[in-house]
Amino acid sequence: MSLRSFARSWNPFFKEQSPLPIALFRIIYSILVIITLILLRPDWLNWYGAHAWLSLPTALKLEPGHRLNLFTIIPQSDAWIEALFWLSLSSAALLTVGLFTRINSVLVFVCLTLPRSSERSNSPSGVLGSKNRPISYPAPIATRHHCAGMIPDDAVACESGVGIMSNCLCWSGVSTA
């Protein structure tokens, strides 16, 4: 294959072609987006709401760097996040039927880049209990440790993390009672 023939075959974008394949692609693509959104719908606020599984600060911390992220732009309220759902769905629907396809293709792409969740919290409770330093309660009182045993029965009676931690090996790695 000569360079010229390669270049010629490379450039289908600049020749008149049947629009059917790209239209079919657009329709299938946007239908898949719609299906994804419908499947997400029951748990939309659980994933993306103001009090979701994952907070926006944590998401930004775990995935640093510049991102195309609508949640950093819109106010962190369930109403706005619901509106974002309907914007995504309507854009995908318009893309499917071929109405305003240029702007809707961009909108659908941007909406697809939503992060996993969003929440704004001023609570500093992301600090985990340290291995050798008891922390006051209420706060995270233990973190990942191998646990051969179970939760101590007196955990509910304890009024401080210290009490809980001192009763079970698996809680803190601190000495046991």
């Binding site: 009090h51 994952l54 760097g65 991102r67 969740s117 919290s121 009182i141 973190t143 179970m150 809680w171």
Partner: protein, 212 residues
Amino acid sequence: MMFQPSSGERVSSFEPDRPRHRQQRHGHIRQGDPDSRIGHTSLRTAINVFVGFHLLAIACWCAPVDTLLIPLCRNLVRPYFQWSGLFQSWDMFAPVPKGANTYLEATLIYRDGAREMWTYPRMEGLSLKEKLFKERCRKFADMLQRDELDELLPDVARHMARLNSSPKRPVKTVILIQRLSFIVPRPDEGYVPEPWESHILLGYGVRAEDLR
């Protein structure tokens, strides 16, 4: 790049060499206007670069090999891929498939002293329809069990507390537990699940503001 259309070949509005009456009718190229020709050539070049770059970058990102150039290419395009959300991994089943059955539970301790066990959605316990809707839960559960993502756990504990609290009966403590059973290969090439083990991922004391 300019190409002469062969005889009988149809040409598009981008084509500088299309018949002049069509160019004038569509207003894309003014006759004898060198600036327009340069503009169209630049546009074509830009589109080619855009498409070519994405083909190459996505191929490098998804290629299941780690030769010298592929990781280099991935590192080069990583900032752009992260910004645009184009990153995608395809290593669900390879090279190292999961070697354990796992699921998550939470022990919820209420202010009144009651305890309840709350199980995070498990795919094996759901109907086909429920699996479709809860697939994201499986992915999220897999993430929660990775050591490097421990920072997710307090958010999850807070959310569980909110889901299970009422004003009269708030959750006081959330204890996230990972249940784990390793899948051990046997000499006869079969696999046998080990007994279930428990790992405490996090104990979280719920604050009043967490429930607002």
